[in-house]
Point group: C2
Chain length 200, copies 2
């Protein structure tokens, strides 16, 4: 195969993947149970083409989730790491996660894995540790165990809000306040995290 042909095929493949991910994101947002057939139809592609790129529905959902992460969360994390006050960085990172979850809805929960969660937890944990070192956050936080749990706690508020609302902001502020205060009593020790995303 000559180089030109290869390039055309490659860009065709990339374009199809983009169409599948965009259609998957929109379709799953409306209907978290949407089938691969529905997503293929929304993408204007044959089911076989979709299965060639994503051999199972699970892989497709994970692909959509990774795409959401790359386009909506990763840039915010980069900004967060550049904040002068690490507390602002933590606020910014959680805000991006909650804003995205409230807009994208269920794909987040359905396809979440510890691996995707890690790409959020690790940079945020570093920011919390940095804030602790500067004396800006309480010393009894255990970022490794607490970051995921704080995120899950805040995500839990979303079903009590009207869709696409930013009412989560109130509870994020409450949590941020609890991280930054000087405790009168140290917290009980943090238990190691059990993976809550095991899909049994």
């Amino acid at each position: 195969m000559n180089d030109e042909k290869t390039t055309i095929l490659r860009s065709d493949a990339a374009r199809n993947i983009r169409r599948i991910l965009d259609a998957g994101r929109a379709t799953l947002r409306r209907n978290p149970q949407a089938s691969v057939e529905e997503i293929a139809r929304a993408a204007g592609l044959g089911v076989a083409t979709v299965y060639r790129r994503f051999p199972t529905r699970e892989e497709l959902v994970r692909g959509v989730l990774e795409d959401i992460y790359t386009t909506s969360i990763a840039p915010a994390l980069k900004d967060a790491e550049n904040e002068e006050d690490p507390r602002s960085g933590v606020l910014l990172a959680f805000s991006a996660a909650l804003h995205t979850a409230s807009h994208e809805g269920v794909p987040i929960a359905a396809g979440m894995t510890m691996e995707i969660a890690r790409s959020f937890i690790d940079p945020v944990s570093r920011l919390i540790r940095c804030a602790q070192q500067k004396g800006l956050m309480r010393a009894d936080l255990d970022p490794e165990a607490d970051t995921l749990r704080l995120l899950i706690m805040l995500l839990g508020v979303l079903p009590t809000l009207s869709p696409v609302s930013d009412g989560w902001n109130r509870y994020l502020r409450l949590v941020m306040d609890s991280l930054s205060l000087t405790p009168t009593e140290p917290l009980p020790p943090a238990e190691a995290v059990v993976d809550p995303f095991r899909h049994t």
Copy 2:
């Protein structure tokens, strides 16, 4: 029917209901998808007898949940209301809810309704309001909207803990700290609660 016969029948009915609820509680704890047939077998009763008391599976699950509430949460709420410091009352009420949820598991989530939740939210909201009036909790809390959300946030931690662990206690303390501090900035306003238990 003479009085004696009626009394015997009534106590038979009460005994059967007790057996169904106990079997339901134990069976659903092990397997949240358990069928009415499985629960009847565990209770040592015929399926027809179970259906006579609880005409649908949904009513049976709700019955189990109300029984859990009555035996495990209601007495703690009574104690909570007698605490001299209303903050201790709030801590005690949330502790009872989290302890019960971590021991009873999924029936809680599966059958939860706003009506059952209300019987927890209302007394806890009163305690928070009392603490606010005494200047012991921040004035910008909106107990009516916040109590349910704080409960849901804390329940969200349970799947990250090993079963029957009391590791939730750390996050309850963190939340209690955030309620009792003097805020530097008031919280954004509370959005009205959307019922998160609508089973669609």
